[in-house]
């Protein structure tokens, strides 16, 4: 408890409160824009956090994450356009609620459900993160290697598309991570004497290209103007009946989201769908789902926020991301000079506990700030997409150039904008690539050190108990996929 109070003392400093507020505001502002999801929002706004002290930067980044998710929900409810897979469920029920004149309660319960989930997840983080960190302190290179391979295998399966495509993207990501200086031998690899490549490929520039530029390029071709809910939004506070209908779905969604979000590879995509399915199953009248029921908004939104909190456990305790957003957060932490992993709680407690406290503070700010600003967000959404997309691209430019005031970053962003665009159009998932880029150097380091320790023998991954568990689960899982041929190549019918 004293550690949590320490975290609040960090988070409640006036400067950090301001940064959290700005993060929530900017995150919601950009998250509301159609065609750009939380990973894109994070990538675009990371350069803004660059000059801040690490704990302030992380608190602002967390605020951006919460704001981006809420912004996506707002667009889903008011415009019926899901900016992200996690918002699809909110579209189904939330927009139907809006059509019934209940946009206010939908938005209200979305914010309040997220707040409750965030508050409860603090206790989960306090309980599990230090335990996992303590356990992970005993990890050596073989354990880390096996864990990362396990994470990749789950991620490739869960990310969508086929496993062949997922494997290709993950491998390409790791390949990108290899470019630059070899940390052990000090030689330059695959930089071809290009100065900007000698330091390696920047994560933020790649993320802005993949998740910002490419999303806009694809959206310009496929954008369907949603029916914007244009009536005056009233009644943001849910009624007593709304609370009676929502409280247990919120609690269930929180549990589902937190547990699943903490599993490497699962991330934030699955929990809202599962939470929705559970509510439908438990409902006395499942047929009403799809017509605009408040529990169909409350549970997935709580699951979404809880999953985002759950992803912080492997990110902060192990340094392993579980999805695109957490991968970008991890990349940002490295840029700030913070080393996520088992030693984070010991080496940088102000960062760790500041993040935990920001879960509560950030969600309060969402409630206080965003509900009154709904009208502003509606007007923003009503801006013609021809203008919005131009401004978002401009934002991408400023974001990438502002990292280190280098034109090369703009070129890298453009190249990866093209890569992301082609990947989306040919159904290659981007998440394995960004995670490969971030984990690649760690994966290589773990593999090389393991082989040196074992004198070249690969059985080291199977003779150490923890490594054996991760390796064993990976092999069983991949064997199952191969035997059942689930989504191996699946080329037929994809075009």
């Amino acid at each position: 408890m004293s550690d949590l109070l320490y975290g609040f003392s960090i988070c409640l400093q006036p400067a950090n409160l301001l940064y959290c507020f700005l993060g929530v505001l900017m995150g919601t502002l950009v998250g509301v824009l159609p065609g750009i999801g939380p990973p894109g929002v994070l990538a675009l706004l990371i350069p803004v956090t660059g000059n801040l002290p690490p704990e302030s930067a992380v608190i602002m980044l967390c605020g951006i994450t919460y704001g981006a998710q809420y912004g996506g929900s707002t667009t889903s409810i008011l415009v019926n356009i899901p900016g992200e897979p996690t918002s699809i469920i909110t579209c189904i029920e939330g927009y139907q609620m809006a059509r019934k004149g209940r946009a206010g309660p939908a938005l209200g319960i979305s914010a309040m459900g997220s707040y409750i989930a965030g508050t409860l997840c603090i206790f989960g983080l306090i309980l599990f993160a230090p335990i996992l960190s303590g356990f992970a302190l005993k990890f050596g290179p073989p354990e880390y290697f096996s864990l990362m391979v396990f994470s990749f295998s789950i991620l490739i399966f869960m990310a969508g598309g086929t496993m062949l495509k997922g494997t290709i993207m993950a491998t390409l990501g790791v390949t990108l991570g290899v470019i630059g200086l070899d940390p052990t031998a000090g030689v330059n690899r695959f930089s071809y004497n290009i100065p900007s490549l000698m330091d390696g490929i920047g994560i933020v520039q790649v993320a802005i290209g993949l998740y910002g530029v490419s999303e806009i390029l694809v959206s310009l071709e496929t954008y369907v103007k949603g029916e914007i809910y244009e009536k005056r939004i009233k009644g943001l506070l849910p009624t007593l009946q709304d609370w009676k209908d929502s409280i247990f779905p919120i609690l269930r969604g929180t549990g589902i989201g937190f547990i699943l979000g903490a599993i490497p590879g699962i991330g934030v995509i699955l929990p809202p769908f599962l939470a929705y399915g559970v509510e439908k199953k438990l409902s006395k009248d499942p047929s009403k789902f799809g017509t605009g029921v408040i529990e169909g908004v409350a549970s997935p939104e709580a699951a979404n926020n809880a999953a985002a909190a759950g992803t912080l456990i492997p990110v902060l305790s192990l340094g392993i991301p579980t999805g695109a957003s957490s991968a970008i957060v991890l990349g940002a932490l490295m840029i700030y000079g913070v080393r996520p992993g088992p030693l984070l709680i010991v080496e940088a407690p102000q960062v760790f506990w500041g993040v935990v406290a920001s879960l509560y503070v950030g969600n309060i700010m969402l409630l206080i700030l965003n509900l009154p600003l709904i009208g502003v967000w509606v007007r923003l959404i009503q801006t013609p997409y021809k203008f919005l997309s131009a401004f978002i691209l401009l934002f991408c430019l400023i974001g990438s150039y502002g990292i280190s005031l280098s034109a090369n970053d703009v070129i890298v962003m453009t190249v990866f904008g093209l890569v992301g665009y082609i990947a989306k159009k040919t159904h290659f998932e981007l998440t394995p690539m960004i995670i490969g880029l971030i984990l690649g150097p760690m994966l290589e380091n773990a593999l090389r050190r393991s082989l040196i320790i074992s004198n070249g023998r690969f059985d080291i991954f199977f003779t150490r108990p923890v490594s054996l568990i991760f390796a064993g689960i990976t092999i069983i899982f991949l064997s199952y996929v191969l035997l059942t041929k689930k989504r191996l190549t699946g080329m037929r019918g994809e075009d």
């Binding site: 695959f190 453009t414 040919t426």
Partner: protein
Amino acid sequence: MKRYIGIGIFLLIISSLLFHGAITLGIGKTNNPQPGFVPFLLGLIIAVCSLALIASSVKNLPSALPEKRPLLTTRTALILCALLLFGLFVEKGGFFVCTFLITISFLKINGIRKWSTVLVTAILASIGIFIIFNILLRIRLPLGILEP
């Protein structure tokens, strides 16, 4: 399907670059992996995957539906060219001049016809960025040709 064959061939080129680089750097042995060790493994994985992709595409080619739309549309190509030109000229031309020009490009590519709307938007965007970055955040973006 033909797109995947093209992608597979591109990936084979990447894997051959990885193999070449790995051999140049030195692969070493498993008990003493050198800088080329992991790139060699990566090249191997990419080569196997790209051959699988090509084989699967060729196998399904007869039953595949013809591709309705081009992979790269004119609008996308123009936007990417504009971004690339921005990167190439921002330091000589200056951030604000390039922002002004690229905003015009984006709006025109997106189909905004009225020049008054385009020019006013571009001017406001450039001035706004100048105020936010150079004045409020005190980040000196290059002035380029506007440098006194």
